[in-house]
Subunit: 154 residues, 2 copies
């Protein structure tokens, strides 16, 4: 095993980036997305873009109504496609949009990461008054993702 004394610094770079988009929070998603695009373009590596339809946010009426749910699904899919187009316009060559449903933290860790296999997950941070604290979903991802995670603050 290498020890500090005989250690020579090696280049450390990432090969697959996944960025999470909060459909309700453009302000915190934007810098995270820009960081992910900048890094993916510089290294010419694949970028996954995921947004989670938070079905827990729907009330019982909405959940029972197929029209409301399918509209929500279409909205999130359009949103992710819009972000994917922006990434391609910026110069990222390999872009994959993902949409899933559930609790964002658990869904990203249990479903999207095993599928896309990023080595870096990029999340935004909710900005609350008088606090830099990150949201519970970002916190979950930092804790349980099997890869490196960057929390991007403005």
């Amino acid at each position: 095993m290498t020890t500090l004394d005989d250690f020579t610094v090696q280049i450390h770079r990432y090969n697959r980036i996944l960025v999470t988009i909060d459909s309700d929070d453009f302000i915190s998603s934007k810098p995270a997305f820009e960081y992910a695009c900048t890094t993916a373009k510089m290294y010419q590596i694949p970028l996954g873009i995921v947004s989670i339809l938070e079905t827990g946010d729907l009330n019982i009426f909405q959940t029972l109504s197929p029209d409301v749910l399918s509209q929500q699904r279409a909205d999130v899919a359009n949103l992710v496609d819009t972000y994917a187009d922006k990434a391609r316009e910026f110069g990222v060559l390999d872009v994959t949009p993902y949409v899933s449903e559930g609790k964002p933290g658990r869904t990203v860790v249990d479903q999207v990461i095993p599928e896309f296999k990023p080595d870096l997950l990029v999340v935004g941070s909710e900005r609350k008054a008088n606090a830099n604290a990150i949201g519970s979903q970002a916190s979950y991802m930092v804790r349980y993702a099997p890869c490196s995670v960057i929390v991007v603050r403005n």
Copy 2:
């Protein structure tokens, strides 16, 4: 305020990087340090390297003994200087070593960050058996740092 529709992706890069070194954990510090050096070299930006002497880890005899404490201080200072030399050998031009004392999370957030003013904090993650969970000190920094934070996992 910009909305998604009229949003054009801008380059997002960091200008000052601070990396934390756990003096007891070379294995988790190494990839974090390599990521920090790679990024600082690529962008030719300042790199701060900090290690915290965890005075809470000393027993009462050690705390009361000036010799033991001063030896510990010297050891941590040497360690950080060694890392600083490795960073310079790798090609980072502007390197600042820091040593402080206390609880690492709180000390980095309350003392070192206000002094060095990084826009990106780089921390390693402790690897525990059957868990990717990060340590409580890294978790504190992710939560309370006023800047972006990357948790680097191997």
